[in-house]
């Protein structure tokens, strides 16, 4: 953020930075503030369940209880007889929650800590990232609820399992990038936060949480419906998570992979540019 310029030997508080370097600056800021980042994650984690008797067990219980409810509803409505459906639901919930929480915590990061940003010069990207990483830790804890299913259904442990964290990281990264993109406008226009809340609720049904990639394909085929569905950046990663755990291989077209990785990378680049350019003035104008 700063470099000595001019002939007075003083360092400008707001140095000029070219647009294309901003994504690298975001990553560099995060690395140089890793100590603060660690403390904020610790704060969020210890604050979240500190007063609950069951503590971190809630991170495991939440997806488990939701899976029971959704399996019950889905079995009644659709009459699904797939014994692995609860496992698919749990993975869908964990993946979707990871994406949705990453997006909302980073999008709300400026407005939720506005009092601090109006009194102290602190690295705002750290605040926009700590929520994402906190949720990543909680998602990893949540994954332990899958262990009993390995025994119940005798699930295979294959090399594909190593892809599980890759897909989770991709979901988190995509949500974080889109959140960075939205944070400055969400800070200035509160309606955007309401819109995000609505989109997250709607996105739950439009993403493969209660349904699966195979269900979609058997119903709609691979025509234009398929192309539209692949624009949802959670479809392929959640399907990938299920394939990794169940040892299956879904018939995902090449453009599906390209779209989900493309959206993640473009989302981060645009998000980092907009966040670094607009976040500082966004907190002034509230």
């Amino acid at each position: 953020m700063s470099q000595v310029d001019g002939d007075d030997g003083l360092t400008p508080l707001w140095g000029k930075r070219s647009l294309h370097r901003l994504p690298f600056i975001v990553l560099k800021d995060l690395y140089s503030s890793r100590h603060l980042l660690k403390l904020l994650i610790k704060r969020d984690l210890s604050g979240k369940y500190r007063r609950a008797y069951l503590g971190y067990a809630w991170a495991v219980l939440e997806p488990l209880l939701l899976a029971i409810v959704y399996t019950f509803i889905f079995t009644i409505l659709v009459g699904s007889s797939d014994p692995l459906y609860p496992v698919k639901i749990i993975l869908g919930i964990i993946g979707w929650t990871m994406f949705a929480r990453s997006l909302t915590t980073s999008a709300k990061s400026l407005s939720s800590s506005i009092n601090l940003f109006q009194f102290a010069r602190v690295p705002k990207t750290v605040f926009a990232t700590s929520g994402t990483l906190t949720n990543a830790v909680l998602a990893l804890i949540s994954l332990t609820c899958l262990i009993p299913f390995y025994f119940i259904h005798d699930l295979p442990i294959t090399a594909n399992l190593f892809l599980l964290p890759v897909w989770l990281i991709l979901l988190s990264f995509t949500g974080w990038g889109i959140g960075l993109l939205l944070a400055p406008i969400a800070c200035k226009v509160p309606d955007v936060l309401n819109l995000i809340n609505f989109l997250i609720r709607a996105g739950f049904f439009l993403s493969p949480v209660m349904w699966t990639y195979d269900m979609f394909n058997s119903r709609f085929g691979s025509g234009w419906h398929g192309i539209v569905a692949h624009m949802n950046p959670t479809v392929i990663p959640i399907t990938g998570m299920r394939d990794a755990v169940l040892g299956e291989t879904s018939n995902i077209p090449g453009y599906g992979y390209a779209m989900c990785f493309g959206i993640a990378i473009i989302g981060f680049i645009l998000g980092a540019m907009i966040f670094e350019r607009k976040a500082h003035s966004a907190v002034v104008n509230v």
Binding site: D5, G6, D8, G9, L10, T11, P12, L13, W14, H35, L36, L39, L40, R43, S46, G47, R50, R51, S113, N115, L116, F117, Q118, F119, A120, R121, V122, H280, S281, V283, V284, N285
Partner: protein, 232 residues
């Protein structure tokens, strides 16, 4: 004398609220202000409410970026304002002290050295290791002042934060800030107290409606300020 901070033609205008946009309302903020802060001086800033004193201080601290103009400085700067902002209610006083220190860019080792001093100054005893949701507002303020004044910057900016706690803590805080002012060397202080400013400042800057009016000898500037108040 060495210049530690230079502000060149800085402007920052707050947006006019939507309901006043059709009227010819002038946006508040700071307009076209240039200023040099010199090593070792205690610069006071005075002006009526809404004249831009706190905004100027926040721009000097690098909290708010200017719409135009340049701000440059040498060394570290710290703003003493909004004490307690950033505290997390579920964390203990000790954990919050470490977090606040990290927000100020300090490492754990640097805070380790100061933690006992922070605890004893805040007079929190065993409460220091309890969540701050259990604290009274006075206890939170004491912790805030204690943490905020523990780190010594090259340029200290103070925005009327001393009116917290009971009478004895206020006195102690004043002494602490005076000590910090001596150690930091260069101080910029915003206050409405003419007595305080005339007793400690080497120069005073008078602002009115976001614009520079005058800067110089404390007594002369305070006279000008009194004239400005009479015009109302």
């Amino acid at each position: 004398m060495t210049v530690v901070m230079r502000l060149e033609n800085i402007t920052l205008e707050y947006p006019v609220p939507r309901q006043y946009r059709k009227e010819d309302v002038r946006p508040s903020g700071i307009r076209n202000l240039s200023l040099e802060v010199k090593q070792g001086e205690i610069l006071g800033i005075i002006g009526r409410n809404g004249s831009g004193k706190s905004t100027l201080l926040k721009m000097m601290a690098g909290v708010f970026p200017p719409d135009s103009g340049r701000i440059a400085m040498a060394g570290s700067v710290s703003l003493l304002a909004g004490v307690g902002v950033g505290f997390h209610k579920e964390l203990t006083g000790r954990e919050n002290a470490y977090l606040y220190g990290a927000l100020m860019g300090r490492t754990t080792k640097e805070i380790d050295v100061l933690i006992d001093e922070i605890k004893s100054f805040a007079e929190l005893d065993h409460h220091f290791d309890r969540p701050i949701r259990t604290y009274s507002s006075g206890m939170k303020s004491r912790l805030g002042i204690s943490v905020a004044t523990a780190f010594k910057p090259d340029l200290l900016l103070i925005d009327e934060v001393l009116g917290v706690g009971d009478a004895s803590f206020r006195k102690k805080s004043e002494e602490r800030v005076k000590q910090l002012m001596n150690e930091s060397g260069t101080v910029v202080i915003v206050s409405h107290s003419m007595g305080l400013l005339s007793s400690i400042c080497t120069r005073i800057l008078l602002l009115n409606d976001g614009e520079f009016v005058t800067i110089g000898d404390p007594n002369e500037v305070l006279l000008k300020y009194k004239e400005l108040l009479k015009l109302d």
